[in-house]
Symmetry: C2
Subunit: 116 residues, 2 copies
C-alpha cells in the first residue's frame, strides 16, 4: 500500500491539455455511471469497479468538486429518463450512499498519502 501511495500520477488531470481532460472526464463519468447502475444490483465486480474508479481519481489528482459534478450530472440524466417513463425519481436519493462510499474511500486514500 505504501508503495502505491508514493507512486507518481500516471495521468495528472491538470497536466493534460483541455481536450484530453474532457476525454478523461467522459471516461470517468462512464465508469461512475456503471458503478451507480450496479450499486444495488448485487454485481460481484462492483468492489473492483469502485477500487478502479477511486485509484483513477487518486492517481489523476482530480479535484473533488469535479467528482461531485459527475455525480450530479448523472443523477440529473437518470431523473430525466425516469420522468420520461412516468416514474418517480425518488429512488435516486439512495445513490447518495454511493457518493458517500466513494468519497469516504478516496478521502482515506488521500489522508494516508498526506504530507502534513
Amino acid at each position: 500500500m505504501d508503495e502505491y501511495l508514493k507512486r507518481e500520477h500516471q495521468h495528472c488531470f491538470y497536466d493534460l491539455p483541455v481536450a484530453k481532460q474532457q476525454v478523461f472526464l467522459q471516461q470517468l463519468k462512464s465508469d461512475y455511471r456503471q458503478i451507480l447502475l450496479n450499486y444495488f444490483a448485487g454485481d460481484q465486480n462492483l468492489k473492483h469497479k469502485i477500487d478502479l474508479f477511486i485509484n483513477t481519481a487518486f492517481s489523476s489528482n482530480i479535484p473533488v468538486p469535479q467528482i461531485i459534478e459527475l455525480h450530479m450530472e448523472l443523477i440529473e440524466d437518470f431523473s430525466k429518463q425516469l420522468k420520461l417513463e412516468g416514474r418517480s425519481d425518488e429512488v435516486l436519493l439512495d445513490y447518495r450512499l454511493t457518493l458517500i462510499d466513494i468519497l469516504a474511500h478516496l478521502c482515506e486514500l488521500y489522508r494516508r498519502s498526506s504530507c502534513q
Copy 2:
C-alpha cells in the same frame, strides 16, 4: 492556504493516549451533532462550524471511518428519539447531504496537501 496545509498536526489522533482519544471523539461528535441539527435550519454560523469541524478532523489526521461512525451513531440516536416521539425517521435520510458536504471538503483538503 498553503501555509495552513503545511502546518503540523496540533493534536494528532494517533499520538493521543486512548482516554484522550475518547475525549477528542466525544467533542468531535458533539460538534458534528450541532452541524447536523443546524444543517437545514438556516444557521448563519453553519459554514463557520463546518469549517472548524473539517479543520479539526484534518489537523488531527483522524481516520475517515471514524467520521462515518460518528455520523451513523448520531443518526441512530436521532432515529431512536423520533421513534419514541412516534414520528417517522425518514427525514434523517436528508442528513446524508451533510455527510457528503463534510467528506467532499475534507477530501479536497487532504488532496491539496497530498505528497503523491
